[in-house]
């Protein structure tokens, strides 16, 4: 009588009979390691581990990430700063990607050096190169997703290199960007590639790669001394692999915890950010410096093309069975060249950035800005107005009206109204400090936009104002306890001349811009000089725009505007020439 089997064993047996799991595990663990287990063979399995780690952490990041230019940055900042464990998972993912590039290069270099691509392993080798290219594709598309300054400008440089390719470059760039500019559509595309298409492809390729590897068998040592010693994969090699994987994991955790993955302020396409690509694209970036104009083709297409082409053809060109690197000086020389030139170019690029004091200063300043953003506490992104626009109330301008301030009229009056009692776009500012319980300093930071980082409220950030102007404006705002006089003489002359009539602000400004500069509608500046746009034409146009061939969203007519107001609008538009139009920045 055999003792009754435990329940666990019986369940295992039941599953095994139906799935053959024992047989599968045995054939997996009995892989023949020629020459015995060795630290030299740990790179392949650690890459599989890193791929799985990237997949797991990537799925986690996708839980909170929003692939839209409006919210991507806020959602990454939330993951990084606010979600428990978010910093670790994002750090593992970011450092993991760099380590994957390093390990895949070591894996390939070793295969090259040991001649392990020989002996009917051409397909295996070619799949390996495809995997290498895919890993770089992962890195490139992943860089954009946080939508911070470095991400935006790094990708801008990267995609414009594609545009330099003759004939098809521009088309390819458009397809990659999803248009002529780097926009939210680009982010969607990169996200789709990074989170769906590439993972699916790389998963399939890895399976094929391992299948072909098991079929061809491990190449084993290149010298023939230990030819007879053959060990199974389990336990010795698996133990070495697991130990190395543990080291890799600990290194990643330490990096992610103590040197958190970087995240700078949200991308501002109008800023003059000095872009630097991720380190693994620095060789290409450095090469571009030496080939001006049309010659850009050489570093952007020819050199990488030749290198990749050479790698593809290597097992077909090198048919000798000799694997010992000592007897393959040409191969060793080529490998050294392939490894040393990118490393040299990275070093050169870093050196040049450091030795040019201007570049160095800019980069250091950018780094400081990025670091301080990372250190700052997390602020959720405001969706919708955070300050209400009170329903219109009849205001009675009093004689003790505050003195109008030039800065106010140049920057704020378009939205907050000429009397500061609220306008079509902005709330009333009368007693704003008291009403919102804001200090003078808080008002200043609000105007500069620091409190609304990342900017989402419909109020723009007035970063162009100097600290003195901000101080003057907030000093004035805290004392503003009644609306400004709406009498024309109270308004500075320079501003009054350029000020649009109220009917314009109400009916046209939303589309044509508060000063006729254009928004979703065309610019009106200088329009009176165009054919069929005399003042009489414009008056008729406001009564029946279709007669002038205009289409939606321009309304057909404006029945609510009186003829007198239409006249004022037309007269104001007539004065809108490029020279006379006051720029809001003054």
């Amino acid at each position: 009588m055999t003792p009754a089997k435990s329940l666990g064993l019986r369940i295992y047996d039941w599953i095994d009979e139906r799935s053959g799991i024992t047989h599968i595990m045995r054939s997996l663990t009995d892989e023949r390691i020629r020459g015995g287990a060795s630290w030299a063979y740990v790179f392949g399995s650690s890459l599989v581990f890193l791929f799985i780690l990237q997949a797991i952490t990537g799925i986690c990041l996708a839980l909170y990430f929003v692939p839209s230019a409006d919210h991507a940055h806020a959602s990454v900042a939330y993951i990084q700063k606010a979600v428990p464990g978010g910093q670790l998972l994002r750090g593992l993912h970011q450092y993991g990607s760099s380590l994957m590039v390093i390990l895949v290069v070591i894996h390939m270099a070793q295969t090259f050096l040991f001649g392990a691509y020989k002996g009917k392993r051409e397909l295996l080798w070619i799949l390996g190169i495809l995997l290498f290219i895919l890993i770089l594709g992962f890195a490139f598309t992943g860089c954009l997703l946080p939508w911070d300054q470095a991400a935006y400008f790094g990708t801008k440089v990267g995609t414009s290199i594609v545009g330099e390719v003759p004939l098809i470059g521009e088309i390819m760039q458009r397809i990659l960007l999803g248009g002529s500019e780097l926009t939210t559509l680009t982010l969607s595309r990169f996200f789709m590639l990074h989170a769906f298409l590439f993972p699916f492809s790389i998963g399939l390729l890895i399976l094929f790669h391992i299948y072909l590897f098991r079929r061809a068998g491990a190449a084993g040592p290149f010298h023939h001394n230990h030819e007879h010693k053959v060990e199974p994969f389990y336990p010795n090699q698996l133990f070495l692999d697991a130990t190395f994987i543990l080291v890799v994991f600990i290194v990643l955790v330490v990096l992610a915890e103590f040197w958190p993955a970087e995240l700078g302020p949200m991308a501002d396409p109008t800023s003059d950010y000095l872009a630097r690509p991720a380190w693994y694209f620095l060789p290409l970036f450095q090469l571009l410096k030496y080939f001006p104009g049309q010659l850009v083709l050489i570093p952007a297409v020819v050199l990488p093309g030749v290198a990749i082409g050479f790698l593809f053809l290597l097992p077909f060109m090198d048919r000798s069975s000799e694997r010992n690197p000592v007897r393959r000086p040409a191969a060793v020389f080529l490998l050294s060249l392939l490894l040393a030139s990118p490393i040299g170019l990275i070093a050169l690029s870093k050196y040049q950035d450091r030795s040019n004091s201007e570049v160095r200063g800019t980069l250091e300043k950018q780094q400081e800005v990025s670091d301080s953003f990372l250190r700052a506490a997390f602020h959720p992104q405001e969706i919708g107005r955070s300050i209400p626009i009170d329903p219109p109330q009849i205001s009675h301008p009093t004689e003790r009206a505050s003195t109008p301030l030039k800065i106010y009229f140049a920057n704020c009056a378009n939205c907050h109204g000429a009397t500061a009692a609220g306008g079509p776009m902005g709330p009333s500012l009368v007693k704003i400090a008291k009403r919102r319980d804001l200090s003078r300093e808080a008002l200043g930071t609000w105007i500069q936009g620091h409190m609304r980082e990342p900017v989402a409220d419909s109020m723009p950030s007035f970063k162009q104002l100097t600290n003195e102007e901000i101080a003057e404006l907030s000093d004035w705002l805290v004392t503003l306890d009644s609306p400004l006089s709406s009498k024309p003489e109270a308004i500075p002359v320079a501003v009054r001349d350029g000020e649009p009539p109220e009917a314009y602000v109400a009916a046209c400004a939303f589309c044509h811009g508060s000063r006729g500069e254009g928004n979703i509608g065309p610019s009106l500046i200088g329009i009176s000089a165009m054919p069929n746009r005399t003042p009489e034409d414009l008056l008729r146009l406001l009564k029946n725009s279709r007669a002038y061939g205009l289409k939606d969203p321009m309304p057909k007519s404006f029945p609510k505007i009186t003829d007198k107001d239409k006249g004022a609008i037309v007269r104001w538009i007539g004065r809108l020439t490029a020279e006379k139009n006051p720029s809001p920045a003054n």
Binding site: V66, A74, A82, E231, A242, L246, S386, D437
Partner: protein
């Protein structure tokens, strides 16, 4: 002879007897345990982190604003319905969702009455009328105290709690169930 040897070799290969397995079973099981320990440690670090990451935010405070700024008290005229807007904010992870709501305020000396501007009938925005309030959608009417005087509305205007915070009026905004006679808080 050579043929026999090849067959024997093949048999050895198929059975795995050509493999040099570690001689002692202790070493085999020691390595097995070590491998299991390594995989379990990595899996637990990841598992615990992912658990905190996915579940944590679900239990953080929702950050809904209780008392909302409804502007300055001194700007509310005596005995005249005054319309004010306030913004209620709800924190949802990376975003703070702001929604603008309307209220009506009537002041009698130091006493205030704050009404929600949402009609208890079907949710239209209530307007001021000659001596009270009226809903423009279906003509329900209330007097200045918010008591129903006509129309299809099932109840009086919904009164909101308020408090004074220095010069500022603060209101605890609520939404109520529409179309029923009793006042039931929805959110």
């Amino acid at each position: 002879m050579a043929a026999m040897e090849r067959i024997e070799n093949t048999q050895r290969y198929i059975s795995g007897d050509d493999l040099e397995r570690p001689r002692s079973t202790e070493r085999r099981s020691f390595l097995g345990y070590a491998i299991a320990l390594i995989s379990t440690s990595i899996a637990s670090v990841l598992g615990i982190t992912i658990g905190r990451y996915t579940i944590g935010p679900a239990f953080s405070s929702s950050g809904t604003s209780e008392w909302t700024n409804a502007g300055l008290l001194e700007e509310i005229p005596e005995d005249k319905p005054t319309k004010r807007s306030l913004v209620i904010s709800q924190d949802a992870g990376w975003g703070r969702m702001n929604t603008q709501k309307l209220i009506w305020i009537i002041r009698k000396g130091n006493d205030l009455t704050v009404f929600s501007a949402v009609c208890p009938h079907l949710g239209c925005t209530i307007n001021e009328a000659a001596d009270g309030f009226i809903c423009p959608c279906h003509g329900s009417a209330w007097n200045a105290k918010g008591e129903k005087v006509g129309g299809p509305a099932p109840r009086n205007l919904d009164v909101l709690e308020y408090r004074r915070n220095g010069d500022i009026l603060e209101v605890r905004y609520r939404s109520f169930k529409q179309g029923v006679a009793s006042q039931e808080v929805v959110s």
